[in-house]
Amino acid sequence: MKLIPCPLNGLRNVNEFAYGGDVLEMPATSASDDAWIDYIFTRENKAGLVREWWFHIPTSYWFILERDTVTDTVIRSYPADQVFSRRIDFPPRRES
């Protein structure tokens, strides 16, 4: 993986990008502690196809990249709004 196809900037050198972790479904704010702990710490760490957040540093652009963690090859990339089409509203913070 020497070049990454950025949905915004086209093919760019891999060192212009930062890895941002797996694309995960965030639990509901009301979810159990266990669900949140899992979300924060537990990782599939798959050997094979993964779907991840990547960041193009010079243009501050986040997008989604699918790649293979065994062959070190890119499968495809696309803008995040293809997966995240809904706005996530957080409940107002409780004062304590």
């Binding site: 890895y19 266990d34 899992d38 760490n45 798959k46 065994v70 070190d72």
Partner: protein, 413 residues
């Protein structure tokens, strides 16, 4: 030519002595199956057989003996961590290393020339003062030193104050050193095998059978093996093997690259590390300069080389040691490192009874080989978690009791 040499050539027994017994059939059952024939697995086998009288033990290794990170690491051994629990744990390992050649009757060439970690910023100076203090309170020798003392310890180091990141001081850790890493694995393997432990190479664990919450057997490419307990010590493959037992871990696998120059005349005695530059070096007894750094920027199950990482290592090495500018690289390689969120290992029991984890050793686990093997053996033999590793259980992520060693680990090994 000396006569003795001629006599040896003519009359010495033709067959070299076997280092390990010839491979045997895989039995149908063992008391303990150890998955992974690296230093960790072999050490656990040795301590089980030698100190707990548990000898129906099989070490199953999918490749050849110690072909994983045990063979690929840069062999830095030190105890100058920052949390008291880690400092005590790694200090115990340094002590075992000091006596390991005698214990195994096998020369592991532990060369304690001291480790120097360089501070290039005020923040690093503060961090190092904390480490020096914690170390001192745990009985581990670590002191802050200034550039005058550094110049005496490492005369070839670039101490020009006008550099972009000048060396402000350092954390000096005299017990630090390097070890002949392969010998550690071979020594443990040989002495474990003498006591009846079976070492099966090219034997891959492909499934783990759990019955009623307890591990009962493992499936391998050579058949099913029943067992009373399993120790998983597979480094970069930790998540994949744990998944066979239905366990999910807070681990991500990253490549870690290293390289070595042609042999040079001795020019640096201590191990020198710069977290700021993500690089550390040591000169082996043979004269090669071993150069290591931080892990790759993204996870991967592969050991390919990247020019980016090599360029960065070379650039920073030359910044620290301008005299190395003309040196030629001899070899480069990589291993896959099982990284945890807090840069501390995971050792202990799991939700599956009889299934013990020795994982999450990332870029820093070689130095723990003896103490980890010893502690895991005690854990398996008694089913009680030894106090020394109590803080490192996988349950710490459920209780948010993380053991944060990021600052004391990143790129200093």
């Amino acid at each position: 030519m000396p006569i003795a040499l001629i006599r040896h050539a003519l009359f010495a027994p033709k067959r070299p002595r076997r280092h390990l017994p010839a491979p045997t059939e895989l039995k149908r059952s063992y008391d303990v199956v150890i998955v992974g024939g690296g230093g960790h697995g072999l050490a656990a086998a040795y301590y089980l057989a030698r100190y707990h009288g548990i000898r129906r033990v099989a070490v199953l290794e999918k490749g050849y003996l110690a072909s994983g990170n045990t063979a690929r690491n840069t062999a830095v051994v030190r105890a100058n961590y920052v949390t008291p629990g880690s400092v005590r744990f790694y200090a115990e390992s340094v002590k075992l290393f000091e006596n390991l050649s005698a214990e195994l009757d096998f020369n592991i060439l532990f060369s304690q020339r001291g480790q120097l970690t360089l501070a290039h910023t005020d923040a690093a100076m503060r961090g190092f003062r904390l480490r020096a203090e914690v170390n001192r309170r745990c009985g581990v020798e670590s002191v802050m030193i200034g550039s005058g003392e550094i110049a005496k310890l490492v005369p070839t180091l670039n101490l020009v104050p006008a550099e972009r990141y000048p060396v402000l001081g350092g954390l000096w850790h005299p017990p630090g050193g390097i070890v002949r890493h392969d010998a550690v694995a071979w020594g443990y393997a040989r002495r474990a095998a003498e006591r009846g432990v079976e070492i099966h190479q090219r034997t891959e664990v492909t499934a783990v059978h759990v019955d009623n919450g307890r591990v009962v057997a493992v499936q391998t490419n050579r058949g099913r093996v029943a067992c009373g307990a399993v120790v998983q010590a597979v480094a970069g493959s930790s998540s994949l093997v744990a998944a066979l037992a239905g366990l999910r871990l807070p681990i991500v696998t990253y490549p870690l690259q290293a390289m070595v120059t042609q042999p040079l005349k001795p020019f640096v005695d201590p191990l020198v590390s710069s977290p700021q530059f993500h690089v550390y070096i040591s000169q082996t007894p043979r004269g090669d300069v071993v150069i290591g750094g931080g892990s790759d920027p993204y996870p991967l199950y592969g050991t390919r080389a990247t020019l980016d990482l090599k360029e960065s290592l070379i650039q920073h090495t030359i910044e620290l040691f301008p005299c190395l500018a003309g040196a030629k690289l001899l070899r480069q390689w990589a291993g896959i490192a099982d990284m945890t969120p807090d840069y501390s290992p995971i050792m202990g029991k799991t939700e599956v009874a009889g299934y013990y984890l020795d994982a999450g050793w990332g870029t820093w686990g070689f130095k723990a080989t003896p103490i980890c093997g010893k502690a895991m053996a005690e854990l398996v033999a008694t089913n009680e978690t030894p106090g020394l590793i109590g803080a490192f259980g996988v349950d710490r992520f459920r209780t948010f009791r993380l053991v944060n060693e990021m600052g004391a680990t990143a790129a200093s090994h």
